[in-house]
Amino acid sequence: MRPDTWPMFLNPAIWGFLFEGLRETIYIALASVAVSFPVGLLFALGRLSRRRWIRWPSTFYIEGVRALPVLLLIAYFGIKGSALFRPIFGQDFELPLFWAGVLGLSMYTSAVLAEIIRAGTVSLPRGQSEAARALGLSHAQTMRSVILPQALRLMVPAMMAQLTTVIKDTSLVGTIGVFELLRQGRTIYTQFFNPVEVLLIVATVYFVICFALSRASRRFELGYTPRAARIKIQDIALRDQAA
């Protein structure tokens, strides 16, 4: 540690620089959640479908993506993202790195969210869907008006916990050249040669956000979650927390 490095943090320009990174981090996280929630819901429904040609591909996607490292997906889209969209948007299309990162992150998060939603629907008592069917609702109607509203409500804490994972994972998007919080910190310490101080500050910022979120998620817990669902959620929380 150099003795003269702490005073430089009195300079507001340094904090402005870090704040730009933080803003980017939050944008990446929000964009990823916005993309992955509908996609995840779709795959969850696909995996719950009774038609094999929908169920099998959905299961394959969910299990396949969950078995991969997020960084691999992000690195792949960082390199090949533009080429993938050129057939659609024309030869000159350049995918901004921001969206390449969001794409990689959302692909992973959508698979995890699909599993969380599915755990919620499976944990509801069978009587719910049986009663709905007995009242004459179709399978689609049962899903839409009976099962999903309850399942999603039940899974709010698990989904918020996944949001903290997404925020931590935005730090990986920095590796493909998006200037999020950690990447901005790296720029500062390569300039001033003080990684200890900068990394402590950056880690504290992540900590404050994620800790507050995980605390808040507990307040949304409904009283009783069935044991099988709790075990399933713990599995997801342990296996799919990445970086």
Partner: protein, 222 residues
């Protein structure tokens, strides 16, 4: 053949796979030891020890692993701590230590859950028989947690194998790094990444199947 490119660059891919396995195994061992110690701290009757354990768990669960890896590889040498004088050995050890520290926090939560799940009567009976607190932990409380914590620990193992890919950010030539090098040499991105993907799946899928099977057996047994 998908993944055939791995045999064109066996040096990169299979050395990478071997490094991934090494970091995973070392990291998991570190995480298990550290996590169990922290869990014991957290359930210990001495409050300050419990606070230290809680601080450890919350800190590492809520900060990104990449930041930790950069700290271990760039920050520590500046404070005068270095894992090895050899650069490659240094980043390898930094990666393994980082994996252990980070996943130790998750292990600690799981083991703590297991320890708290042991019936209080067991603990009280052991203490009233004259066993010291340490003896009680060693012979009564810890052995009973093993069964219930094995499936969640398997899940942590899967997460750890996937997270070793982050070691590529500090320059460890593991699987993802191999894929990136091969891509930059050949511009065959799909093949390069699919080869790495398949090699990761070779590690994670058997683990996943084992965890699911164990879990089903435990669910029946409990």
């Amino acid at each position: 053949m998908p993944g055939g490119i791995a045999f064109e660059f066996p040096q990169l891919y299979f050395t990478g796979l071997w490094l991934t396995i090494q970091i995973s195994v070392l990291g998991l061992l570190g995480a298990l030891v550290l996590g169990t110690l922290v869990a014991v701290l957290r359930v210990s009757p001495i409050a300050p020890l419990g606070w230290i354990g809680a601080a450890y768990v919350e800190f590492f669960r809520n900060t990104p692993l990449v930041a930790l890896l950069f700290f271990l590889f760039l920050g520590l040498p500046l404070i005068g701590l270095r894992f090895s004088t050899d650069t490659f050995e240094n980043i390898f050890r930094a990666a393994a230590v980082g994996m252990g520290l980070y996943h130790g926090a998750y292990v600690a939560e799981v083991v703590r859950g297991g320890l708290l799940g042991v019936d209080r009567g067991q603990i009280e009976a052991a203490r009233s028989l004259g066993l010291s607190y340490a003896q009680m932990l060693r012979y009564v409380q810890l052995p009973q947690t093993f069964r219930s914590v094995i499936p969640p620990l398997g899940n942590i193992g899967i997460a750890l194998v996937k997270n070793t890919s982050l070691a590529s950010t500090i320059g460890v030539a593991e699987l993802l790094y191999a894929a990136e090098i091969v891509e930059s040499r050949t511009f065959r991105a799909e093949e390069a990444f699919i080869a790495a993907t398949l090699l990761y799946l070779v590690l994670t899928i058997p683990l996943g199947i084992a965890v699911n099977a164990l879990e089903r057996r435990m669910l029946v047994a409990r």
